[in-house]
């Protein structure tokens, strides 16, 4: 993977520099919050562009949008230093990829299936990878990446490194055996990993309450003696604080943690799902606690932001989305010879 990677990254142009720690020395609270806001807006605008291009049939197959859940990936990844830390997630991965600082151009090219895509057009929406940024996918099989993430934590412990792994997955994935087996392993081996269940209330058309024995998933963590809590996943600062605490525990004590971030996806499960299984009122209720609006209101109130500044950031994110589309449009189709590349090394 690393071999093809360097070429792809340079072909894709320079990604916007990402601030990887919450407390950059001398960095102000205002700058930190502005960055969280910018990242959430970038995800929102990128996803809107993805939906638009899907509608124009530039993108095909399963495409799962992250709109509504931005606070989880952004707040959580902001607690990391991706030089040492790692991120693994499922197929609803655009938000995590952007939060890890992946290049929106290479991502849009991937959605288009083009050669300059981050996975060279072979992965598509569900399989965003950037090994340099320690973003290890992008997995399409529900629950299948949870043991893999646990294995990444094993390496950190084995090499006596300082890192921590964030493993994101949905409320649907939490019943898979892979989750339960992984938690037990992480606990008995004291692995530095934070399991983050993004409870957006639905696994496809299924309300999580219909298929779960508990409605507070942190009980599942506790049953493996792994500390954790259920928390508001719409407030990016709260997510950040919780993940930071858990990541510190992982680093200092080599202890796994579990966090259930309660959130909501505004769109259907994938582009083909009209989401008729939920009410307009329910959707409206969550849209009124929109993660971007919450942070914006907090910052306006504390005078860390004014409306012109917000509009400027938003315009910048829209521009990045447009440039990503242009880049994807211009980038060539993968050559047919690429079929047999990267099957084995």
């Amino acid at each position: 993977m690393g071999k093809g990677k360097a070429g792809v990254t340079s072909a894709a142009g320079t990604a916007p520099e990402k601030k990887t720690t919450s407390k950059t020395p001398g960095g102000s609270e205002k700058a930190f919050r502005t960055e969280l806001l910018r990242q959430m807006l970038l995800i929102r605008r990128f996803e809107e562009k993805s939906a638009q291009m899907y509608g124009l049939r530039k993108i095909g197959g399963f495409c799962h949008l992250y709109i509504g859940q931005e606070a989880v990936a952004v707040g959580a990844v902001a607690a990391l230093d991706l030089k040492d830390d790692y991120v693994l997630t499922a197929y609803r991965d655009h938000g995590h990829a952007l939060a890890c600082g992946m290049d929106p151009k290479a991502m849009m090219a991937e959605l288009y299936g083009r050669q300059a895509g981050c996975s060279r057009g072979k992965g598509g929406s569900m399989h965003m990878f950037d090994v340099d940024k320690h973003m290890l996918g992008g997995n399409g099989i529900v629950g299948a990446h949870i043991p893999v993430a646990t294995g990444v934590a094993l390496k950190i412990k084995y090499k006596k490194e300082n890192g921590v792994v964030l493993c994101f997955f949905g409320d649907g994935a939490i019943h898979q055996g892979s989750f339960h087996e992984s938690l037990n392993l992480a606990k008995i081996w004291n692995l530095p990993i934070v399991y983050i269940c993004e409870n957006n209330q639905y696994g496809m058309g299924t309300d999580f309450r219909r298929v779960s024995s508990v409605t507070d998933f942190s009980k599942m963590g506790l049953s493996y003696d792994i500390p954790g809590s259920q928390m508001d996943g719409m407030d990016v600062l709260k997510v950040h604080a919780a993940v930071k605490e858990a990541a510190d525990r992982a680093r200092k004590e080599h202890q796994p943690s579990f966090i259930e971030a309660v959130t909501y996806r505004y769109k259907g499960h994938s582009m083909s799902d009209p989401a008729t299984y939920r009410t307009k009122e329910e959707l409206g209720e969550y849209k009124s606690q929109d993660p971007i609006l919450i942070l914006k209101a907090q910052m306006l109130k504390s005078k860390q932001l004014n409306n012109e500044e917000f509009d400027k950031i938003d315009a910048g994110c829209k521009r990045i989305g447009n440039e990503a589309v242009q880049f994807a449009e211009d980038s060539p189709q993968p050559a047919i010879e690429m079929l047999y590349e990267d099957v084995v090394v």
């Binding site: 197959g61 072979k122 992965g123 629950g143 019943h175 299924t206 219909r210 079929l339």
Partner: protein, 325 residues
């Protein structure tokens, strides 16, 4: 005769069998309230209620095994795998429980269960969601594996599968659910293990099953326009395999192309090729050809993913190769 879609034929088969036998239940992800991820179980929850049409969590190993347990003691579950790709999570249950109970118990325990869902590639779904499982499953003694290609066959074979006292893997195709075909109003059953000649011909036999049948029939037409007569055999059932029908056709035409949309190595198609070579050696005028998937995981890019799979053109080329034209 009424013309209905493949998905409707499957639904009608389940509906008729559920009406006939209280022991038949359906379970899987999104089968009830959502009416199936591909709408195959449309309306069944309303008709039979949540005791018989059961939504499960995303726990393939769990609900596949639960289905097997229920089958051991008299129920006749239909387990829907949202796609057969996800049955990899449940593979152990099929391999070590469903396929072994009859044998290990010295004939005491039967496992009357159907596992069904879309198999093989659709479009733009990349490596993890575009896999063919016919080789994995047809490898296993103790189960039956069927893969019909028309709504008519799908209905008659699903009804037989539900009544069968063995575990049956019933392979469908996402791209096939909207295919239309004639299905009679009257009840009928199609036995498992019987192939069908879909088109008679003299100079080459094209053998396939499931979704590939459509392009195989197109290829036969193209060949006819060019003056070559191809016989087309739809296996419909991979295990048990209708060897007699296969050999009869090959002995007649003396040439054979197998089309199997799966990786070539250790595949169902490669096994069939060996079987034909061994049993029809004296009749063959050319080595048996296999049109398979390229030996790579499925890429997302659409041009590449089409290049990976069998196509009408590839089939025509292979047929000409065995005819030396």
């Amino acid at each position: 005769m009424p013309v209905i879609a493949f998905r409707q034929a499957l639904k009608d088969a389940m509906d008729e069998e559920m009406a006939r036998d209280q022991n038949v239940i359906l379970m899987g992800e999104e089968v009830a309230q959502y009416n199936g991820a591909y709408k195959v179980s449309q309306g069944l929850l309303d008709k039979y209620g949540p005791e018989r049409i059961i939504d499960t969590p995303i726990t393939e190993e769990g609900f596949t095994g639960v289905g097997i347990g229920a089958a051991l003691v008299g129920l006749r579950p239909i387990v829907e795998w949202m796609t057969v790709n996800f049955s990899a999570q449940a593979f152990d249950q099929v391999l070590n429980n469903a396929a072994k109970m009859l044998y290990m118990s010295g004939g005491q325990l039967k496992v009357p269960i159907v596992f069904r869902g879309p198999n093989g590639p659709a479009e733009y779904l990349a490596s993890q969601h575009s896999q063919s499982f016919q080789a994995f499953y047809s490898h296993i003694p103790g189960i039956k594996v069927v893969a019909p290609s028309t709504p008519h066959d799908a209905k008659g074979m699903l009804k037989s599968a539900i009544r069968d006292d063995n575990p049956v893997i019933f392979l469908e195709g996402e791209m096939m659910y909207a295919w239309k075909g004639e299905v009679p109003d009257e009840e009928y059953l199609i036995p498992l293990g019987k192939a069908e000649v879909k088109r008679t011909g003299e100079e080459v036999t094209l053998i396939s099953f499931s979704r590939s049948m459509q392009m195989v029939l197109e290829a036969a037409e193209v060949l006819e326009k060019e003056g070559y007569s191809a016989e087309v055999l739809d296996l419909r059932s991979l295990r048990p395999l209708d060897e007699e029908a296969v050999f009869a056709s090959v002995v007649k035409t003396n040439r054979c192309v197998i089309i199997d949309n799966d990786w070539p190595m250790a595949s169902f198609g490669s096994y069939l090729g060996w079987l034909i070579s061994k049993n029809c050696f004296d009749s063959l005028d050319a080595p048996v050809e296999l049109v398979a998937m390229e030996d790579v995981p499925m890429p997302y890019n659409h041009t590449l993913e089409l290049a990976v799979q069998p196509s009408m053109e590839k089939i025509v080329t292979a047929a000409k190769r065995v005819m030396y034209v």
